[in-house]
Symmetry: C2
Subunit: 382 residues, 2 copies
Amino acid sequence: MRRWLLPEAIEDILPPEAARIEALRRRILDGFRGHAYELVTPPLLEYVESLLTDGAHDLDLRTFKLVDQISGRTLGIRADITPQVARIDAHLLNQSGVTRLCYCANVLHTRSDSLTATREPLQIGAEVYGHAGIEADIEIIRLLSDTLALANLSAARIDLGHVGIFRALVNRADLDDDQVEELFTALQAKDVPTLAALTESIAEPVRTALRALPECYGGKDVLDRIQALIDDDEVAAAVADLRQLADALAGLPISFDLADLRGYHYHSGVVFAAYCARHPNAIALGGRYDNMGKAFGRARPATGFSMDLREVVRLSGNAVAAKKILAPWSDDATLQSEVARLRAAGEVVAIALPGHDADWRETGCDRQLVKRGTQWIIEALN
Amino acid sequence: MRRWLLPEAIEDILPPEAARIEALRRRILDGFRGHAYELVTPPLLEYVESLLTDGAHDLDLRTFKLVDQISGRTLGIRADITPQVARIDAHLLNQSGVTRLCYCANVLHTRSDSLTATREPLQIGAEVYGHAGIEADIEIIRLLSDTLALANLSAARIDLGHVGIFRALVNRADLDDDQVEELFTALQAKDVPTLAALTESIAEPVRTALRALPECYGGKDVLDRIQALIDDDEVAAAVADLRQLADALAGLPISFDLADLRGYHYHSGVVFAAYCARHPNAIALGGRYDNMGKAFGRARPATGFSMDLREVVRLSGNAVAAKKILAPWSDDATLQSEVARLRAAGEVVAIALPGHDADWRETGCDRQLVKRGTQWIIEALN
């Protein structure tokens, strides 16, 4: 048996990459902290009902299930951290005002999202609770942009959408839940023939508006287009939100995608997706989810974003590994204090355990501490 | 249904504690890095055969099992990271010389070790591969002591043991595996009556030596005592290792516990446990496990230690949470640049989203940015 084989879409993170992830993790969490987002770490395991609050079949299928030997109940390994943070805001912190939280931790998926995706993303994200106004969405999207900058990335495009538009249209069409689900799936897949068939019996002007959504993609003209197609207060309010957001984020590469309903099952308002150059999938996703806290006893306005830190590191280019200084195995007090001084100054000092003289360059040492007279000095390692 | 309830021995880490864990995580990983230990992050999930290499029933029972929907095979959630790091050293890095690795990540246990223990420890540790000499054990125990110092802790006691002593004795007694297991369990429990019964039919001098192990606890005289009881080359070699180690670690509070076989299933030589004042359980455990790499195609000398970072933080005393500065929601360019400057200087600046004026002290703000003339200055927040 080849015991070193790992399951599909599961991998080790080895030294150079692990150090880069750690460094970026710190920069991003420090950035969140500077913006007053406080770190929380929910558990990997919860009762499955706590993890799956929105009835989303999708998240259910992605969640690994286990039996708790202690309670006999079904546990899930989290496939998403946002519902856990919503639980913490609603039930544990219980603040009445604005609460800003952030996190960085692993999630597991039963299957990978795409051919290249891992089943063990390192989800990092930030959430604002308690503020229903558009200012929270503005703050979160600016923070997303600043966060990508910490990884030396800039968003090539930030697509804004609003689940209120789709929701208003299906409410007017008076569909049952299965029909809504089918429409949602067709829209997500931008499957125009199926969309046409599913909307055949829907009255105008809703039919035309639903059929137009996959083309409502691009600049501000798509907002004009949807408003021209349907006169509806909810649609108008959603469009007004999107306009206000785009104006406030004028420095960023904002565009619109009114058919992007990725988080439809738990999102409730503005949604967004950030894309980087030369990468087909969104690097970060986010939006409003004002109703999630209800499952935990207290619905609160909420908006946030998250991304897979491993993916971000992969896109953020190469870093140079720090070179090490080799020091001999010795009890010489002068040497010991010189080693301590170098380490405190940020150098990496490897002690040469006896008998391995030929191998130290292999471990990344390029210099060595050598005694010259009474002094320990650093020389090149040959 | 009370969806906010968490499973037994599973908990959220909330803001003040999460920040303390993050801060100590960084200090410890920086310490490891300065000593040339490179970070690796193995996956949470592996095929169960890869996680359970030593046939330890104990680790098997502690490991959550899942079915992989992709392969149909049984997966385990790691209950220990050391076997994964041994796999990385043996198979992936494949260096011939000394390899120093470290890690910090969650593990899950099906049941908690004690009434107070979590089922989700945050395991942090360091390992040296490729050096069979006692120097690696010396380095690792010094590193453990330095690591506790980073948490403002000092070991009240570091107990040294050596599984070679027990192994030599049971080899001479010619016992079958079940008998060895029973003896091992009785010794771990310091269950003297059972030990007496189990050793009844064992010939002298092995019988007396085995029965003496639970009392071989304390200063260097216990080494003299076991050597006086049995004349055996392996026992003598183990005792010589322990003497050399204690001499090299003269500045540390070293004692001996020859019946401590905690990691007997995978350990192969010197083992140790560090204790802090006012805490009954060991805060860190470690030792030699020279044979683990064999399951992955390459046996390598190995020694290391690990601990639960959450437990270490809990013992390391209280820290004061950073206070925040409140800034108004405004597009004023002077304000924006002052906020950016304060954040870059390490301050936490929370933006006051409109309409929450009464609530900001609740979120930890004690100062505010106020415009006086053309200047933004910091004043106390009332």
